[in-house]
Amino acid sequence: MAEPEAQLLRAVGLIEKDTNGDALWVWCYPSVTAELRTLLLRKCCLTDENKLLHTFVFGQYKRSWFYITTVEVQDSPALKKVTHFSIVLMAKDFNPEKYAAFTRILCRIYLKHGSPVKMMESYIAVLTKGICQSEENGSFLSKDFDARKAYLAGSIKDIVSQFGMETVILYTALMLKKRIVVYHPRIEAIQEFTRTLPALVWHRQDWSILHSYVHLNEEELEALKACTGYIAGFTDSEVSSRSDLYDVYVNLADSEITVSPVVKEAMTMGKLHKEIGQLIVQSAEDPDKSDSQVIKDISLKTKEILATLASLTEISDGNEKPTLNAEALKQKRFPPATENFLFHLAAAEQMLKI
């Protein structure tokens, strides 16, 4: 599904920090709304007082992905009054590697020439042809960066080695489309962790639930609350007190997972979950298996469960999609935790009769 680049790239912008200490939006193309500008100023680390430079951050806001690369300026004849700058890219798809490479090229161009006009040329080239020349005698080809590769780039084995059997809680939460909040003081750790989580539900291949960098700001939280299920990453520890924002809270720094009491009933675990957990752990601990193979194993198990669910559905008149037959589910006499899980899963997969 190779969408033409023109439909994916939305905007490019430039934020500079100068010798006066101000962080300003100095240039953008085609245009960035004022709301987005405030948001992106918050996300890029130049407004922070603690001066921690994050080379590359990405996140999502209202179905649009932003990628920010920040660079410190040292002895550039073209940029005299600028100490740091960030290049911001807005796109519709999730592909951190591609946009990291692209923004790095743009950064180098800007460092060398000091004028956004050269950046524009490369941007337009990628927009129209999908290719641009980089400064080091190479070229950037956007077709080198496939979406699937981006989905598979994270390391599921690291997640399983950190959480062990508790990974099945994350799996259940994702399957039932619950709200997961992840906290860690460093944004890079959050990004690494959260980008891999949607791979646990590979059959959906839906990375739009990922909001890897959220601040405790009213507008961002409103936008977040509008989604049913999401994975949200916060660097602010106060999020642990906001129980209205999450069903599952992951403290990545302390490797702790907490389930909110509101969803405890829906997420009760039984024999089925234990099986799944054991499968995940075993598969991840196998040194011969690569990350993508682990994901494949998990997705096979998921397919099994979905097949079970499908066997209990029927095409009743009036609905185009198969809907769950509650009687058939009861007749199977699954253990109560499994039955509960299947019922909620049917709701998540939109198989309930309305």
């Binding site: 101000d22 129209t128 939109q350």
Partner: protein, 561 residues
């Protein structure tokens, strides 16, 4: 002293008094400035006291006098220990003015003085840090909840219940309080009179209420021997009449309460109640046969009620399950709606693109070549436009940055221009030095006092010794004085010696006393001369003359009017 004055004047300036820059010490303050400073400080310390007083000294003498005395009274109310009257403001001495102003400046609230001197975290109301944030969050939450309109408990959804915590708290509290009140009232009256322990009393009451509830049913129900005619007794209308409005249907002395509760409850309740009563009546009837045994009747009543209870519980479980399923369906439906909307947006865009493509499809090759050209030319145009924009943007940005840099440097210069002598380190150093000096002086004073005490002791001892010696010598000589002429002369010489020495000592003591008095008087003279009496006297005399003239004027006006 100069530094003290400088700090004082600086604080007065911060409090809002317009002290001209050439005024460097308290000596140079005019009465107008003193009054203005005092009024502004008073307003800052206690607005209620300072509001009626005007900071401007009026020209009329009587008005001035009035203002000054009001100001003096206000200062005394604040707690100024020293002597303050109208003269402190109008004919002030440097020492008194300084004392008063220091007292007022000390009383000023902290943030009127040095803003930077606030220590963080000590002020609970505006605390920074987590406790402050928590308190503020609590305050905001409660304010928000108090903002939502109050809904009676019966009409609340669970969400509303959660939001209405303050009213809910008040309600549960009130309910608890009224329940306790009722129980106390009841127990205090009929409860104690029945002379039963509380549990038994409650049991009796419950039994009585039950019997009362079933009484009309039993009465209105026709005696069973008449035959198995289940129709009329189970007639809902008859049942309603039995428990009819106004309690007329039965021998219920307090039937009105029952019917009142019946009216107040939900519309469905009468139906449920009727069903229950129906079921109770049904089970009531068969035992009402030939046996007419009250015991078995009660047992069967109980069984019937328990059956209905179990059925109702099962129904509630079923409803709960249905609610859960409904909620899940709701979330599913919402998710579907959202998904469809998103897909719709995407599909509309795709449709537009494909429509254009279809239009251009017939002459594919040419159109593709044309499109390529169009794309290239528009990219070139965009890049050139960007270049033009850059030509405008670059200088504007540079200018903006320059101005910001200028403004920052101006601010820095301003900061440096602030009086340098208001530096704290020097003052703390000085204060510590002064404290050291005072300590040393205290030690010296202590030593001197010890010496003085030792001397006094010595003097006392010597005086005592002298007295004893003299009396012994006196006796001795007196004994021999009658016989011997020489001894008599010696005795006379002894007495004279003693007298003269005593006089010497007295003179020395007087000298010391007079010297002390001289010192005191000198101090007084110094104080009085620094009070600038002649100048004040002149001012007072001139004011007195002006006051007399004003009085004459007013008297003349009064006479003519």
């Amino acid at each position: 002293m100069e530094e003290v004055d400088k700090i004082l004047i600086h604080s007065l300036r911060q409090a809002g008094t317009a002290v001209p820059p050439e005024v460097q010490s308290v000596r140079d303050l005019t009465p107008e400035l003193v009054v203005e400073a005092a009024v502004r400080c008073l307003r800052a310390v206690r607005p209620a006291l300072g509001a009626p007083l005007s900071p401007l000294l009026p020209p009329g003498i009587s008005a001035r006098f009035r203002l000054a005395s009001d100001l003096a009274a206000a200062c005394q109310e604040l707690g100024f220990g020293g002597d303050v009257g109208y003269q402190t403001f109008l004919y002030s001495s440097e020492h008194d003015t300084r004392r008063l102003l220091l007292f007022l400046v000390e009383k000023l609230p902290r943030d009127e003085g040095e803003r930077g001197a606030e220590t963080p975290g000590t002020d609970l109301e505006e605390g920074s840090g987590k406790s402050g944030a928590l308190l503020r969050a609590i305050g905001a939450r409660i304010r928000e909840q108090l903002g939502t309109p109050w809904v009676p408990p019966v009409c609340r959804t669970p969400r509303l219940q959660r939001l209405q915590t303050p009213p809910a708290l008040l309600e549960t509290h009130a309910a608890q309080l009224s329940a306790r009140h009722d129980w106390e009232a009841e127990w205090g009256g009929p409860g104690l009179a029945s002379r039963l322990p509380p549990q038994e009393y409650l049991e009796r009451k419950r039994l009585r209420a039950r019997l009362r509830a079933l009484e009309p049913l039993r009465q209105a129900c026709p005696p069973h021997p008449q035959g198995p005619t289940p129709g009329p007794p189970l007639d809902p209308a008859w049942l309603q009449e039995a428990f009819g409005a106004g309690g007329a249907g039965g021998a219920l002395p307090k039937g009105s309460r029952f019917t009142r509760t019946q009216h107040l409850t939900h519309q469905q309740d009468p139906q449920v109640l009727l069903q229950q009563m129906q079921a109770a009546a049904e089970t009531l009837q068969p035992p009402k046969g030939p046996e007419e045994d009250p015991g078995s009747r009660q047992a069967s009543e109980e069984a019937a009620l328990e059956e209905t209870l179990a059925r109702l519980e099962a129904e509630i479980e079923g409803c709960r399950g249905e609610i859960r399923a409904a909620q899940l369906s709701l979330t599913q439906a919402e998710a579907e709606v959202r998904q469809c909307r998103g897909a719709l947006g995407g599909r509309e865009d795709a449709l537009r693109v494909k429509a254009r493509a279809v239009e251009l499809l017939p002459d594919a090759q040419n159109n593709m070549a044309k499109l390529q050209l169009v794309v290239e030319s528009s990219s070139r145009r965009i890049v050139s436009l960007a270049g033009q924009w850059e030509r405008h943007r670059g200088p504007l940005l540079a200018e903006y940055r320059q101005l910001r840099a200028l403004r920052d440097s101006a601010q820095v210069a301003e900061l440096e221009a602030l009086p340098r002598d208001v530096s704290r380190a020097v003052y703390t150093q000085r204060i510590l030095e002064i404290v050291g000096n005072i300590r040393k002086q205290k030690e010296e004073i202590g030593k001197i006092l010890e010496d003085t005490r030792a001397l006094q002791k010595e003097i006392n001892a010597l005086v005592g010794k002298l007295e004893r010696t003299f009396s012994v010598t006196d006796e001795l000589l007196f004994k021999d004085a009658k016989r011997d002429e020489v001894v008599r002369k010696a005795y006379k010489y002894l007495a004279a010696l003693h007298e003269n020495c005593a006089q010497l000592i007295r003179t020395i003591e007087d000298t010391g006393t007079i010297q002390r008095e001289i010192r005191d008087l000198e101090e007084q003279i110094e104080g009085e001369t620094s009070a600038k009496l002649p100048a004040s006297l002149e001012r007072i005399l001139s004011d007195c003359r002006a006051l007399r003239e004003e009085n004459a004027l007013l008297a003349a006006r009064a006479r003519h009017a």
